[in-house]
């Protein structure tokens, strides 16, 4: 493709991409630079794209005002559990829907898919009542169980199913002749080959859990239990107004692992987008 472009076309294309870059890069730039500006400089006019003076104490205040390390850990371990759990559930469910013939398989799959169409705001109240009865409010269980067995996992199941459908049936026939049963075929043949699809499921699930906002504010009430997106809202002054520079410093720290993961796994990330046929 690249070789086909004339120099003029290429310049135009790069120009266009630079313009498109602005709405993506600017907010990140603003977040990072504002986190080290004194609060008075944030709303200075004309806006300072490059900070004139630096205030690094914002970062230490992030940790003073909230149990931020604890909250970081909460987000991290919840996201890790959800990611691993979703990978297990979605790969097995996806494999079953793709490969095992059982009565009404397609109908059941359609019903499961319907779960994707229901916004989480609709189900949050009944879910809250359910977890309240189970004594799980203000614990992390709802944030772990709902994504693994709920709508986010349905999306992952869909991605895995689409992958397993394309896996050549002869590979499984060969494995059966070689002496493998259904579960071993899944574990030894299908799963290792599904690595690209699993990687995209892992990335999307991790991001989804890391960024989850509605569920934590519904289910959690003590600062010790908070996850990061929820903790960000807590950097307020005595009047409830946001402390912008500290909040943006916390936001920067929150976004950091995601940015690092993205840079490292960029290839998988793009492949993941291609796999799902959807935008993130």
């Amino acid at each position: 493709m690249k070789a086909d472009l004339s120099p003029r076309m290429r310049t135009a294309l790069y120009g266009l991409m630079c313009v498109l870059l602005i709405p993506f890069v600017f907010p990140t730039w603003w977040m990072v630079t504002s986190s080290i500006k004194p609060i008075s400089d944030i709303f200075a006019f004309p806006p300072q794209l490059i900070p004139q003076s630096y205030d690094w104490t914002t970062y230490s205040k992030v940790f003073e005002l909230q149990p931020f390390v604890r909250q970081y850990w909460n987000s991290a371990y919840i996201a890790a559990l959800v990611t691993v759990g979703t990978m297990i559930v979605s790969s097995m469910a996806g494999y079953a829907f793709a490969r095992i013939k059982f009565p009404y398989a397609n109908t059941i799959f359609m019903i499961v898919l319907l779960g994707l169409l229901i916004p989480s705001e609709v189900t949050i109240v009944p879910l809250f009542q359910m977890f309240l009865k189970a004594g799980m409010v203000n614990t992390h269980w709802p944030l772990i169980l709902v994504p693994i067995f709920g709508a986010p996992s349905v999306f992952a199941t869909f991605v895995m199913r689409q992958f397993f459908v394309t896996l050549p049936a002869e590979l499984e026939d060969a494995a059966r002749v070689d002496g493998l049963g259904r579960f071993k075929i899944f574990r030894k043949i299908a799963l290792p080959l599904a690595r690209p699809a699993l990687a995209s499921v892992a990335i999307f699930t991790f991001l989804h859990s890391w960024n989850l906002f509605l569920e934590p504010i519904v289910f959690l009430s003590s600062a010790e239990m908070f996850t990061l997106p929820q903790a960000l809202t807590q950097y307020t002054d005595a009047y409830g107004g946001p402390m912008w520079n500290i909040q943006l410093a916390a936001a920067t720290l929150t976004a950091l692992p995601v940015l690092i993961v993205f840079v490292i796994a960029q290839k998988h990330f793009v492949e993941g987008l291609a796999h799902t046929g959807l935008k993130g």
Binding site: P168, D173, V177, L193
Partner: protein, 354 residues
């Protein structure tokens, strides 16, 4: 090694019947080829023997065991697939040793068997490669290696050469045959290519529409096909068929009379199909009573032989001659069908008359 016995084997998917009762006795160490056009049920039959498809009715025995309800792994068979079905994430050595590993073989034993198979198939240098790093022929050999490593009672091949180019196909054909000669394992081989069937088989089973049309040694099928389907399927270019009536003078077809052996006098007056293979026409420079005028339509010199598309009366036929023929489309030459090589079939093609 074992004999394989199929007795009234049937397969249906719901109301749709695909295999209509196949009886077949495969001897210990025999190389049997199942051949037929697409959709004739040959692959289904092979997969039923492998245990990958259930058997609706009938009895399947491998050795003296009835195996109808056994899992593929308990049937002591090995199968080579059309797409080779090598595990992409495993090396050649792991691919070949995979089944032994799952049957609880010791590491030393697996290595020994894999090295033995790799030695036979010339794969010793490739054991650490992945399937994607191999050529088509090499993949094919690995697939065979995976099959022989276990020393099964029966080898099953499902169109193993159809993904290779023509030249490599001929080479691999020879290798499979040589392998069979060396190991003498009972082999069932499915193909749609009648040349493969002719060159490799001890016996050929011709299938059509889920039924066995004929079972026999390759040359028996070639020389004495029992019906028009087998006659047309075996041989390339395929047999010429002319419809007409048996008369005292010979076979009366549109515009010409073709010679017949006197033994057919008993069925004079019967409508029939006259079959003659392309190589059973002779050139006859002295037009006489027995020879037939043929208008040349196309001459295709092959070097060793010449293929001529010509018109006998109103019917277009193909002749293959050892001679080089100088002629042009439109010219008339005289040909003589070999009386002894004529096949007569009933008008509907289902039975042989001579």
């Amino acid at each position: 090694m074992a004999k394989v016995n199929l007795s009234d084997i049937r397969k249906s998917y719901g109301a749709v019947k695909t295999i209509h009762g196949v009886d077949l006795d495969i001897r210990d160490g025999e190389f049997v080829v199942l051949v037929g056009p697409s959709g004739c049920g040959k692959s289904t039959l092979l997969r039923m023997i492998a245990g990958l498809e259930t058997i609706t009715d009938g009895t399947l025995k491998i050795g003296d065991r009835k195996v109808n309800d056994l899992d593929p792994k308990d049937r002591d068979i090995a199968m080579v697939f059309q797409s080779y079905a090598l595990y992409p994430h495993m090396t050649v050595a792991t691919n070949m040793g995979f089944s032994l590993e799952h049957r609880g073989g010791s590491k030393a034993e697996i290595t020994e068997r894999v090295n033995w198979a790799a030695g036979i198939l010339g794969l010793t240098n490739l054991l650490d490669r992945y399937p994607r790093q191999l050529s088509g022929g090499q993949r094919q050999r690995v697939a065979m290696g995976r099959a022989i490593v276990r020393n099964p009672q029966v080898f099953l091949f499902d169109e193993p050469l159809s993904n290779l180019d023509a030249k490599l196909r001929v080479v691999m054909r020879g290798e499979i045959k040589a392998l069979h000669h060396k190991l003498k394992t009972t082999t069932i081989y499915v193909t749609h290519d009648q040349v493969e069937a002719m060159t490799m088989a001890d016996r050929i089973v011709v299938l059509n529409g889920g039924r066995v049309e004929q079972i026999g040694a390759p040359l028996d099928l070639y020389d004495r096909p029992v019906n028009r389907f087998v006659a047309g399927f075996i041989g390339s270019p395929s047999m010429n068929f002319l419809t007409g009536t048996i008369t005292q003078r010979g076979f009366q077809t549109s515009g010409v009379v073709l010679p017949l052996a006197t033994s057919t006098n008993t069925i004079v007056g019967q409508a029939a199909v006259y079959g003659i293979r392309p190589e059973h026409f002779r050139l006859n420079d002295h037009p006489g009573l027995a020879s037939v005028p043929a208008e040349i339509m196309l001459i295709e010199p092959m070097g060793s032989e010449t293929q001529v598309t010509m018109r006998l009366g109103d019917v277009q036929v193909i002749g293959v001659f050892r001679e080089r023929i100088n002629g042009a489309p439109g010219d008339v030459m005289h040909v003589l069908p070999e009386i002894g090589a004529v096949h007569l079939f009933s008008e509907d093609g289902t039975t042989r008359l001579n």
